[in-house]
Subunit: 313 residues, 3 copies
């Protein structure tokens, strides 16, 4: 089934087969990037990059992806330079971008903005994060990272069989909720490590094989997914101060880890992972950032019809 | 006559033949965009995009135009990131851009800035709007829209024979003044619909076949050109409140319109046209936004010498 | 010796041979720009343009350089749209950019930031100015300007034999310090013209053939390098007011100059050079701005391995 014209709005729309297809096509893009051959499959195509709120990492990796495929970009990185200040609706801005370009990437602070955009556009829309709601390409690059960085498996994917430990703010973290949801399509078990105030909500735990603790005990984890604990989540600053040092990955923690475990983080990290850990080969968060490029290349090529049946056309 | 090296500063510099040439070359670009063939006539060429004030629509459609032709862009979208804050004159900034690139697009809050830029530059300058003064490419895309969206005519253009109704703020609207001026080169009549406080100035009416009213009566109009009424134009807020609901295009108004009439708006619109009207085939304002791309493609190709005698070279 | 993978951080790292190589390769780029042939040696390559503080001239000329070579760019021009506001370290931002692109240009307000960036990146880093510390590409384009704009010499370079007069703020001016340091690799003498409060520091004068004065006497100068005197350098505003009119290049000053002397300025200029002087053929500061493009083209091509032994590959 062709993905030409498909919108990428929510991870909830992805079937198991969809996930496998993204893993496979992203791997193809990784190979092409490794070879360093200039690609021109999106030559003459324009991507609208509409960032209604700043986001360096997501924006730059979408731009790198489009340009690595030979495409070009129009857009804005800052709502203050857009027509919004004149009172234009998001829907009208999207209609304009749709008239100018072949694919739209939108980042917006309001939950649901990406879905609204897709309804207004006549070209495919990719959600680059809509507030607390969804950030599907982050989840897909997380899956690609596990697939690429975990040892080769005899199963359908290298993700199968993993025990994935989520660490940090599991209550509010959009990233961990989405990844947890996506991983239900694979044969994984979970360990949720969070302070009581920031526990994983029940709906994400349901139907999964999981443990829950507030101890940073990682010796049985295959994948450690760390997130930031944000001060603004706590009603009392004293609570934040008490907890902020608790879930920090340092060299001692790394010493407890399995030899083939991997440590991931959506970045930016502040103090949750010490920079002294960066040189450990199990610390894959910068590789994870890199995988954002081939993953988004795959998605851009698929929704514009340039990648069909695993072949660039 | 070649347009290579020509500056596009003011609509007042355009002869009747000039308008026809832009209409014809824009149509050529529309055809090329429809076919979807990647163009490379401006390959290796650089456009400086100097936006001394924000403008999403104009900026993005100039960028789309340059990139659709295979060209590249340098520039800024926000004066806060430019050398202006160090006290550099606009003239010096233009001289720099002229040294770096092959064509300059300038948007500036000060009337006359585009003319000044053209005097400082050694490459062609296109005015992307200089304050209350001129925005010639908006007027040209408006003409292209009428030409494309009105029924085919046996006259020299589809613009001839039209009764054009201007609605809203006709006193301060740069857009309507320019379009009215340009339309004097065609066989058109006018209907000026505005509150008393915002009537069309005498100099634009002179020498034209026009009616004037403050009733939103559109049954005889072929083209309805709607503009925003801005609160800041009124000394007393109560006056604005009294008037703001008066000139609104809704479904009832559309029911009165001719079957082949078209409704235009330079966008962004706020409440002057209800979104329920968007799906009416006579509502062509988003198509109008699209025509900004082929119109600007034609202009960029003409002033850089890539389009001569109607042929891309 | 190949420069592929080399970082361009400080002018202090440049040997005499290095300077000659940049002069030669920049001349090659000037020739190619003159011919106007579209280049594609950096096709498929991505440059990260990371401007942690605004700088129009440096940013636009790096962008022009990369695009003239057929390359593409990702990045930001304004720290407010970057992850810094979330507290990410510069080092982590660089690691991200290094994962996404083939070469990094960084501009940063903090001295030493470029060196730190080079340590964090796995791709070459070019310093586009790090606070009061270094701005090596400015110095290189200054040398290229002297080489190109001074009369042909029988010496190894047209720089040899020149008396270079530095005018203005010689105490705090990063630009004059760097250029003075670089010129020690050539056979030049110096004249330092500054108010007492803003004299050239001793360490730059040491080992050179120089005169020092606070009189604007330029009749024996071959190269006049003018800089801005900034109000904020003076503890008392009255001191600034007394001095600001003293070192101004106007037509009278030009009349005293040698026929083949050249007047340079890193720009932006405010009042240090009157605009009435711009049309004098000895006023080369806008040509100097232009030379920023071929100089940066040469550097980008060299560090990415696209220019070896003086040949584009």
């Amino acid at each position: 089934m062709s993905w030409e014209g498909r919108n990428i709005i929510s991870i909830d729309e992805f079937s198991k087969e969809d996930f496998y297809r993204v893993l496979k096509n992203s791997e193809k893009m990784i190979d092409l990037l490794d070879k360093g051959t200039p690609l021109n499959v999106l030559q003459g195509k324009l991507m609208s990059s509409l960032f209604f709120e700043p986001s360096t990492r997501t924006r730059l990796s979408f731009h790198a992806a489009m340009k690595r495929l030979g495409g070009k970009i129009i857009g804005f990185s800052d709502p203050r330079t857009s027509s919004r200040k004149k009172g234009e609706t998001t829907s009208d801005t999207i209609k304009m971008a749709s008239a100018y370009s072949d694919v739209i990437v939108i980042r917006h602070p309001n939950p649901g903005a990406a879905k609204l955009a897709a309804e207004s556009a006549e070209v495919p829309v990719i959600n680059g994060g809509d507030g607390s709601n969804q950030h599907p390409t982050q989840t897909l690059l997380d899956l690609v990272t596990i697939q690429q960085e975990r040892p080769p498996s005899s199963s359908d994917s290298n993700i199968d069989g993993c025990k994935v430990a989520f660490v940090g703010d599991l209550k509010y973290g959009r990233t961990v909720h989405s990844l947890c949801t996506a991983l239900k399509n694979f044969d994984t078990s979970f360990k949720f490590i969070a302070p009581e105030e920031l526990e994983m909500p029940k709906k994400y735990k349901e139907g999964t094989d999981y443990e829950e603790t507030n101890e940073l005990e990682l010796s049985d984890a295959d994948v450690v997914y760390v997130t930031r604990i944000q001060k603004e989540r706590f009603p009392r600053p004293s609570e934040y101060e008490r907890l902020k040092g608790t879930y920090v990955i340092n060299e001692n923690v790394m010493n407890e880890l399995k030899d083939d475990a991997i440590v991931m983080h959506p970045l930016p990290r502040i103090n949750e992972i010490k920079s002294t850990v960066d040189s450990d080969p199990r610390a894959v968060y910068f590789k994870q950032a890199f995988y954002g490029v081939p993953t988004r290349m795959a998605l851009l090529a698929m929704v514009t019809g340039a990648l069909e049946e695993g072949e660039l056309i």
